[in-house]
């Protein structure tokens, strides 16, 4: 009886050893597979970015500049490697990570469940809201005189109160699904570029162009002559988180990028880049 137990115990012990060895190999494999080591080995990080997304990335005098360009340099400096910027359209973001075309996405990408099935997200580095660039004449007059006012139209959600309103939305943007779910009574026209979106509002074919608050605020700041007739209604307390896109399951790279993001937030580096642009 004692021998049987002893034999059984030693078999159990071997089994555990085997499991440990296998787990160690698996972990080692995972470590070796992490994009982080490839980046270090290649001495280069490939960063996917939007073609044009001011103030995050835009072209000035033939040179790429913007908050995310500065972020890319900072990340490369932290990792001790060089950067390769890969211009992508919003639609290509997730597939570029999945097919190993890029190591990381820094493209003003908002975190959502649909994307979360395919890629991982870092800690957020920016908070934005959905917003609409709207023709003021399309909003009802709420103020009469120096004191009297009905509830003013202050957020994009107030548009729900309007019976007639046509949104312009950029094809492939996250706001197409937002309009479908939140503004189902309103008309929508799909545009191919930001320029087309603004032009639709100016020509009267749309009453508002939906985009994120960051982009719209930057654009109206640079074109302050529009403020006479047009305004931006933001999303109030409903925010979206902008994160870096990381390969699915790559814990080591995620850990390193989260560390870097937390540090640039703590050191107020992002605030400095905002002021710069």
């Amino acid at each position: 009886m004692k021998n049987i137990n002893k034999k059984y115990r030693s078999r159990k012990l071997y089994g555990l050893w085997l499991l440990f060895i296998l787990a160690t190999f698996a972990l080692d494999g995972q470590i070796k597979e992490s994009r982080y080591f490839q980046i270090l080995k290649n001495q280069k990080i490939r960063i996917g970015m939007s073609v044009d997304y001011p103030p995050l990335k835009f072209e000035k005098e033939g040179k790429n500049i913007g908050i995310e360009i500065d972020m890319a340099s900072s990340l490369a400096e932290f990792l001790g490697v060089n950067t390769e910027i890969v211009p992508l359209s919003v639609k290509e973001y997730t597939s570029a990570i999945e097919t190993n075309k890029v190591d990381v996405i820094l493209g003003g990408m908002s975190r959502n469940l649909e994307r979360g099935k395919k890629i991982w997200f870092s800690e957020p580095y920016l908070s934005i809201t959905p917003a609409v660039f709207v023709n003021k004449r399309r909003l009802p007059k709420t103020k009469f005189g120096e004191e009297f006012e009905e509830i003013p139209y202050k957020t994009i959600w107030d548009i729900k109160k309007l019976a007639a309103f046509t949104f312009a939305v950029k094809e492939g943007s996250a706001y197409q699904s937002l309009i479908r779910s939140e503004f189902d009574k309103h008309k929508v026209i799909v545009v191919n570029s930001n320029k087309e979106g603004f032009e639709a509002v100016f020509s009267g074919s749309a009453h508002g162009f939906i985009h994120d608050s960051l982009f719209l605020e930057y654009t109206i700041k640079k074109n302050s002559q529009w403020k006479n007739g047009y305004a931006i209604l933001k999303g109030g307390k409903r925010t979206e988180k902008i994160c870096a896109g990381i390969p699915f399951g790559d814990t080591i790279l995620k850990n390193q990028i989260d560390l870097w993001i937390n540090e640039i937030i703590r050191k107020k580096e992002i605030d400095k880049w905002f002021l710069k642009y």
């Binding site: 005189g145 004191e147 046509t166 302050s224 002559q225 403020k227 007739g229």
Partner: protein
Amino acid sequence: MIYIKNNSVFSAAHNKLAVLLFLFFFIVPLNAYENQAEIDENLKNLSLSGFLRTRIWHFQSKTAIGDFPATSEQKKVTYQDLFFRNRLSLKVNESTEIHSVFDIFTVFGLDSSDSVETMGGSIGKAGFNLKTRNVYFLLKPNSNFETKIGLMPFSLPGGHIIATDGAGIRFRYDFFKGLLRTYFSWMKAYDNSKEDLGKGFGGNNYNDNDIYIAGGKIKVSEDIKTEFYYTYEKDMDSLKEPDTGRLHWAGIRQEIFSGKLFADFNLIYNWGRTNKNASENMFVNAGLWDILLGLQLKSVEISLLQKGATGSPNDLKAEKSFQSIRPSHGFSFIFIDNNGGISFSGGAMHGIYGQGLNIKFSIISGLSAELKYVHYRTIRKVISFDAQKDSYLGDEANFYVKYELYENTKLFSSLAVFLPQKAYTFYSQSANKRPVYEFLLGGRVDY
């Protein structure tokens, strides 16, 4: 023994202390966290917004206008006002909201006779601390139906008939996926929301005054919107039978957009009866129109405007004079003006029409401006004491400039000049036709 006794006492006290500490650190904080969570939940649904506005006014004139008397020398008046609006809203659940609006207001330099004590701690003329303007709740059982109950704002297009806060109830119901939006309101007038309506008394009478509003908005297309409305004011006089006032208004507003062009038409017909004086009734048969045609470009907006109302400019009790409940509609900075400062009329308009041109444009980054010219005439010719007749009231030019210092901080300034003409001198029974000047410098911070 003593030592042991003390020790046991200490031990018992220690145990009690331990229990108390346990309760304090574990039980009390748990409750505190619970309360904290409740407070946080409410804070999450709380919304606070508003603005602080301060303005320095300066006007000078020899000509009588509004409360401003005619003087032989150029009389100058300078004063400052402060207005702090606070909107506080709480979303109780998905279909219930509570809204409130309260203001702090004071004026310095216009009148020094008011004492601090009578103003509830504020200083200046007509100053007040925390005036409650709105307190009401809103129920939205579904997206098609909405009701509001309490003290709330009531207005109709253009603010021509009514734009005031009052106690009452409002309903809205949408038909055909919002293609037809209907509304009904009942308003019980409250302090200062109701004018005398010609009862002939020295002050206002707030007894038994009911206002009913019904209307609908039709969306013909995305670019054509029509609103029609009817208002009925029943003004009972408890001192006099039968009732003293039965006034009706029926209006239509048409908004049309076509590319960069826009048009806005308002037409109101007013009828009914009211008191001419304490013993005599009068019948009202009047109208008001307000037309705007414009072109909107990226940084420039040009519009042609005309507004007028039937009746006599200096007699609200004339049969054709347009009556209103508590209007608030301006047209220019001096003559028909509801934005503060000097004015001939702060909202009521009868027997006058004005037409002009307005241009809004941008000067440099953050700096925008507005230029307006309005030509005013009377509907019928005014007769002077020496039997001369004329309808030319005057011309007004306005220049307004606004600078956006930060996203929520604006500085603004305006200069307005009104040039009275012959009909105005007949109306004011003075030979003085000297210009009236109004200058404004202000700032506003929104939050």
